[in-house]
């Protein structure tokens, strides 16, 4: 029988269509159709200036917006050949890790609720709320942060950041301990997740999977360790690696990664240096407002940067950061004018969805829900 598990399905998390060919309840073939959330990110980036791309990047992986901001900023700063101040690097690292934790809480909470563990979903969402409060205190928004700028970040940490982080972590620790007790040795959960959606390491590498999906199969590849960026090489953290490559391993990967992200944030907060949060190069960064309003040079500088954009030298570069789903890469091409010529996002969950067919052949319909949940397809990133 051919049936489509349509784009809006109450059990699937996101707009995805599965064209299923079934034999009873067994899946004979599964054609995955994406693109329902395609909003022409790459085309729209070409229409504005470089700084106007940051709001678009927020809306890529909308569960971890700071990571997208940071990835794009780092890629273009490579072309500009500028390096941000120390404090800015620490700020970006800390907020990236906070975003990673919110993304994993969303993924695991939703995946748990889809198999019936509603309590876990609500616990994780409660912890996520406190982390969103933290993000809002720093950037002004929970999701549409637009926090990074070329050459720095827009806002510094508030003065009570240490208290806020301690408060959020108190809840996070309690939630992670509770959810571990609820799920990790839960008979029903293990039956639904273990042995399902297995992918071999060779297949995972061939399909271009990265992040928790690849590490669940046993391949230890993390962009933060392989091509260190920002200040990750100064901190002590582990990269969890799985064994079988099934859904239960993928669940564990994300769970352990939350602990590791928490470690990184603690170490970074302890080592956070004082200093400027942005460089002062007038070709890249807007001048301070008192100069704009009181001197003709400041006014002209501001005007040129806003109207014509930052003049990034011609060239192209590919830069990747470790997103919550894997290697989030930005391939940016500049032609020397103030507008991007081409901005390409390498979306980790797009490739994860391409491997979904392989994972589902021979399995049953309920396995679609768990496998798809564990891939953590975020529509904004997959379809852009």
């Amino acid at each position: 029988m051919e049936i489509q598990m349509g784009p809006s399905h109450p059990a699937s998390h996101g707009t995805i269509k599965f064209n299923l060919k079934l034999d009873g309840e067994r899946i004979v073939d599964c054609d995955v159709e994406v693109g329902y959330l395609h909003r022409a990110f790459e085309k729209m980036c070409e229409q504005g200036t470089w700084t106007q791309c940051f709001p678009y990047t927020d809306r890529l992986n909308y569960a971890s917006p700071c990571i997208n901001n940071v990835g794009f900023a780092l890629a273009v700063e490579k072309l500009l050949e500028i390096e941000v101040p120390e404090r800015c690097k620490f700020l970006r690292t800390i907020m990236s890790e906070v975003s990673r934790i919110t993304d994993h809480l969303t993924c695991l909470g939703m995946a748990a609720s889809e198999v019936g563990a509603t309590t876990v979903a609500f616990y994780m969402l409660e912890a996520r709320e406190l982390l969103y409060d933290l993000v809002e205190a720093v950037t002004g928004a929970r999701l549409t942060v637009s926090w990074c700028r070329l050459g720095g970040v827009a806002h510094d940490f508030p003065d009570d950041i240490k208290d806020r982080v301690a408060h959020a972590f108190e809840m996070l620790d309690a939630v992670l301990a509770d959810c571990d007790k609820l799920l990790s040795r839960n008979r029903v959960f293990i039956d639904r997740m273990s042995g399902i959606g297995i992918l071999s390491p060779e297949d995972a590498v061939s399909y271009g999977l990265t992040g928790p999906l690849l590490r669940a199969t046993g391949v230890s590849y993390d962009v933060r360790k392989a091509y260190p960026y920002l200040v990750y090489d100064r901190f002590d953290f582990e990269v969890p690696v799985g064994e079988k490559g099934d859904n239960y391993d993928r669940f564990n990967m994300r769970f352990q990664e939350m602990h590791q992200s928490r470690r990184i944030i603690e170490q970074a907060m302890a080592a956070l240096p004082e200093g400027p949060i942005s460089i002062t190069d007038p070709h890249v960064v807007l001048p301070p407002k008192h100069r704009v309003y009181n001197s003709i040079e400041g006014l002209m500088n501001h005007f040129k940067l806003i109207m014509e954009g930052i003049k990034v030298p011609p060239g192209d570069v590919y830069h990747a950061v470790e997103g919550a789903n894997g290697e989030l890469g930005f391939y940016v091409v500049s032609d020397g004018s103030g507008r991007p010529y081409r901005v390409r996002v390498r979306p980790p969950c797009f490739l994860g969805m391409s491997a979904l067919n392989k994972m589902l052949i021979g399995r049953m319909i309920p396995d679609i829900i768990t496998t798809f949940g564990m891939i953590n397809m975020i529509g904004g990133e997959c379809d852009r």
């Binding site: 051919e2 049936i3 489509q4 349509g6 064209n19 060919k21 073939d29 054609d31 994406v34 693109g35 395609h38 022409a40 790459e42 085309k43 729209m44 070409e46 229409q47 490579k78 072309l79 050949e81 297949d203 590498v205 061939s206 399909y207 271009g208 990265t210 391949v219 590849y221 392989a226 091509y227 060239g315 192209d316 570069v317 590919y318 990747a320 290697e327 890469g329 391939y331 091409v333 010529y341 081409r342 390409r344 390498r346 797009f350 490739l351 969805m353 391409s354 491997a355 379809d383 852009r384």
Partner: protein, 166 residues
């Protein structure tokens, strides 16, 4: 140095090679690309076992028009390479890399969808992000971003056939 090793191994097949912004870039010709990509994947000195990204850039005022960019990664040797193949606008095809890396399946479908570049021997080259009856290739520079599309008549989704099995 990766660029030196590449030039030594492949000689004149590497049409251009440079290192910029901490990244190695080479340009290959369309005819030699399939063989060289296979060697880049299989030979232990290079060991590019992952096709990280495949995309294209449209330079309408330049001949050849399109730059097809392959970003290759080696997970074990921890290096990356950016391979470009240049094709002209009226003859926009390259051989598919699907036999080498399975990630080429969807990445090439997206490149075809957005730019109209044909990947020969892909086996299932159809649109992926846009709907089937979309007209044009949106990321080309001559496609205006406010372009309207004709109204699509309603189709019966049950009749939508699965793609042929490979």
């Amino acid at each position: 140095m990766l660029i030196e090793k590449l030039k030594q191994r492949f000689g004149a097949d590497v049409l251009a090679a440079e290192e910029a912004h901490g990244q190695e870039n080479i340009v290959l010709s369309r005819e030699r690309a399939p063989e060289i990509l296979k060697a880049l994947r299989d030979e232990p000195a290079f060991d590019f076992n992952m096709l990280t990204d495949l995309t294209a850039v449209d330079w309408p005022d330049r001949k050849p028009r399109f730059d097809i960019v392959y970003v290759l990664s080696s997970l074990k040797l921890r290096h990356r390479l950016c391979v470009k193949v240049q094709v002209s606008g009226d003859d926009a095809w390259v051989s598919s890399a699907i036999g080498l890396w399975k990630s080429a399946d969807w990445l090439e479908r997206e490149c075809y969808d957005m730019f109209g570049i044909e990947f020969r021997d892909h086996g299932d080259l159809r649109r992926i992000l846009m709907y089937d009856s979309f007209e044009g290739h949106p990321l080309r520079k001559d496609y205006p971003y406010q372009q309207r599309q004709p109204i699509v008549p309603e189709i019966d989704p049950v009749v939508n056939p699965l793609r042929p099995s490979r």
